[in-house]
Symmetry: C2
Subunit: 115 residues, 2 copies
């Protein structure tokens, strides 16, 4: 377990290659590797017209929009959000994130580690 300080540009990006995802990359900023046993901080970039899958899982998301414009779908609701929005996606609700702007969408998305 260690003090970690890293600029997001120092962290290697990985393209999300799973079915239903388009033009999204992820950087794992804070993880178990540093001793973050409870939750992980991830940074996403989505190109214009890019999107996540519409998917569901047993863990929640805590999201903060840094730049760009996003359509968030969650259950039967949808919201358009921009920089400065915080979003809570409860467990087991189908949801997706879509870049509906003309520049790169950037957001943090944190998830718990299983206990």
């Amino acid at each position: 377990m260690r003090f970690k300080v890293a600029h997001f540009t120092e962290i290697k990006a990985a393209k999300v290659e799973e079915p239903g995802y388009k033009d999204i990359q992820v950087k794992w900023l804070i993880t178990k590797d540093e001793g973050a046993k409870n939750f992980a901080m991830r940074y996403f970039e989505v190109k214009p017209k890019g999107h996540s899958a519409h998917h569901s899982h047993i863990w929640e998301h805590e999201v903060f929009i840094l730049d760009g414009h996003c359509l968030v779908e969650c259950g039967d609701q949808e919201k358009r959000v921009g920089p400065g929005y915080a979003i809570f996606i409860p467990p087991n609700i189908p949801h997706s994130f879509r870049n509906v702007g003309d520049k790169t969408l950037k957001f943090l998305c944190l998830i718990p580690y299983e206990k």
Copy 2:
């Protein structure tokens, strides 16, 4: 447990009044109230020359700097950071955050809930 979407400007700020804190306010963006059982997302603003206490606790911090310049002390280390830096503060290490710039320091700081 519910889908929550809120801009940080919609959330009420509370001044941190504890000993050792100067010119810091906090907004709790995502909490247990929405069903976030595992961790909370908090947004801090610190005025120039403002700072947290130099303090220690059993939980970790996951921090992301949104704007301004911060001196982070953790154990026997210190780092100057600006927008785009992610910081992991391990449990039980004395640490502090200090605005060393000439504009408001803004950052997210997430903490686990006790299990």
